[in-house]
Amino acid sequence: MKMTFLFLLMILSLKTHASEFEKISIDGFEKEILSERQIRFSNKKNPTLVLHIQVDRFNHEESWTEKNLKKDINKMFENRKTIYGIFGFSNIEFSDYSLTSIGTTITHQVLTILGKYNNLSNKNVYFMEKNIYFNDNFLQIKIIKENSKITKEEIEFYTTQIHPLEVDIK
């Protein structure tokens, strides 16, 4: 009986520690839950700055390796370029990308991509995308900003606010 109670207590404490996906919040941003796998944040002061946080499935066979990173990213870039083109976007560029990891006891791969494109109104749109890989899913944080580049400080700030390792995305 005692053991069951302790076990339940353990489970409950774990649950409360991991924040639910839908409960993510960022200071100064308005939250809009688009679906159980997608949240949009819009900046109250700057309407040209938005964040999308999404979750999707992930296959370990498709994981990134340093060795093939350049080749795989180029392939993905070509794919995106075609799709962007079909939807009327132009001049897509990947200005930087990196494969890192986060976590202490268990590490998780993080693929970061910085780039830009021209939207349908031909305005420059800059983006930063961070894909953080867990067991079966990945969490994507995407910052979209019109007309001005996204700084390292901004990326750091938003990533810290979101606490990606604490988000329960199972």
Partner: protein, 424 residues
């Protein structure tokens, strides 16, 4: 036999030669005031009494004074935007789900098609496209933002890509008043073009693919929605001694062509039954809007009334939108569900047979193995036909899971059969 071969060859030429097919379609459509063009008041009115509009319910038929259709060639940004919004509204949850569910799936499907060089390969092939899901999520977010900023601009961009291809569908609803037209076209688009894999093919494979697809769907949809027709068609196939042996797809191609000339489906069925499809070569067939065409039609349909009298009575209840339409539609839906279940069982049996033959052929001696592979091909062809039927039923029942499954399997089977044919 000779005639049969010639006409099938002509049909094949028509189906494969895009410019010829387009020219024919263009020619037969010319006298008919297309809704995307500016039409005169006289044309609008005469079109209403034309043979093409006679089957349209009065409550759905557009008025003689209705000069501006919602959909036309020079739609303004605002008009397209309004159309898009009505379209989303008319299809209930579509708007809500479009960006979060449909769009990521659409982008994923597009990625798969691009990676496989224009066509989807059998399942498993795309298992290792790195970054596909990341791409689909990322691009969906960008599209969402663009739509949010300027919905009209986004809808216009997409509309322009499919407008031409959908013109057949749009023209098909020429007799309807604007509200009914939007409802019909949108339900057409959402029922058929919205499975992401289909829409992805529209966007990537371009106008020719889409046009063919839409043309087929229009005729198939007619055949499915007017439930008694398929059994009548089967009856004709089985009983007519003079019949042309056509596959269902060829039947639709023929039917589509005759409809464009101005023949009704009943009239076409009569020509088919009476073995008159061979009588005049397709390129000599005239549109029924001209005096000569009317004469040609009259001579071809000489025995039409006698034929109608011999039809089973059940055909009489097939009037689009009669007073008992609701009960009829319910009955049709129930029948469709039943036949759908039967088809699914049959498919499983067919797939079991394929597995057995495949296993046998692996251990059989060379000669026997060759024979078994031909047998396997026959069973696969049978399955392909059955999958097409399942797809039609699934589309009717709006079962998107089954639509995707059937479409995927059709793609696989087509590739397998094409490969087998090239090896031969």
């Amino acid at each position: 036999m000779k005639h049969k071969i010639i006409s099938l060859l002509l049909l094949f030429t028509f189906m494969t030669n895009e410019s010829l097919a387009d020219a024919w379609i263009k020619e037969v459509q010319c006298p008919r005031p297309l809704i995307r063009e500016v039409v005169t008041m006289d044309q609008l009115c005469s079109n209403l009494t034309d043979v093409l509009c006679r089957d349209t319910l009065k409550s759905e038929r557009r008025s003689c004074n209705e000069k501006n259709s919602i959909i036309h060639k020079n739609m303004t940004l605002n008009e397209i935007s309004q159309f898009g919004e009505s379209c989303f509204k008319s299809s209930a949850n579509t708007f809500k789900n479009f960006f979060t569910e449909f769009l990521p799936e659409l982008v994923t499907s597009m990625g798969k098609i691009i990676q496989s060089g224009g066509d989807l390969k059998p399942s498993g092939w795309w298992g290792n496209i790195k970054g596909l899901y990341e791409t689909s999520r990322s691009i969906s977010a960008d599209i969402y933002e663009n739509f949010n900023k300027n919905p009209g601009e986004f809808i216009t961009g997409l509309w322009k890509k499919i407008e031409d291809s959908l013109s057949i569908a749009v023209d098909n609803y020429d007799c309807l008043k604007s509200t009914s037209k939007v409802e019909k076209i949108c339900s057409f688009i959402t029922s058929y073009a919205l499975p992401p894999i289909v829409f992805a093919k529209f966007l990537i494979k371009g106008a020719r693919f889409t046009k063919e697809f839409v043309k087929d769907l229009i005729t198939e949809k007619k055949l499915v929605s007017e439930n008694v027709k398929p059994s009548l068609f089967k009856q004709l196939l089985e009983n007519s001694p003079k019949k042309l042996k056509l596959t269902v797809k060829e039947y639709h191609q023929y039917l589509s062509f005759y409809r464009l000339l101005g023949y009704s489906e009943e009239e076409f069925n009569y020509l088919y039954h009476a073995g008159l499809l061979n009588k005049i070569q397709p390129e000599k067939m005239l549109k029924t809007f001209s005096a000569e065409g009317k004469l040609q039609k009259a001579s071809l349909l000489e025995g039409y009334n006698d034929f109608q009298a011999t039809l089973p009575k059940s055909v009489a209840i097939v009037s689009p939108g009669g007073s008992n339409e609701k009960q009829l539609m319910e009955k049709i839906a129930a029948q469709k569900s039943q036949s759908f279940i039967k088809q699914k069982t049959l498919i499983k049996d067919l797939q079991k047979i394929q597995d057995q033959i495949f296993k046998q052929s692996k251990t059989a001696p060379a000669l026997k193995s060759k024979h078994l592979l031909t047998e396997l091909q026959d069973v696969q062809e049978a399955e392909l036909k059955m999958q097409h039927d399942i797809l039609i039923n699934a589309q009717y029942l709006k079962n998107s899971d089954e639509i995707n499954k059937a479409q995927k399997r059709i793609d696989e089977l087509e590739i397998i059969l094409e490969d087998a044919e090239s090896i031969r």
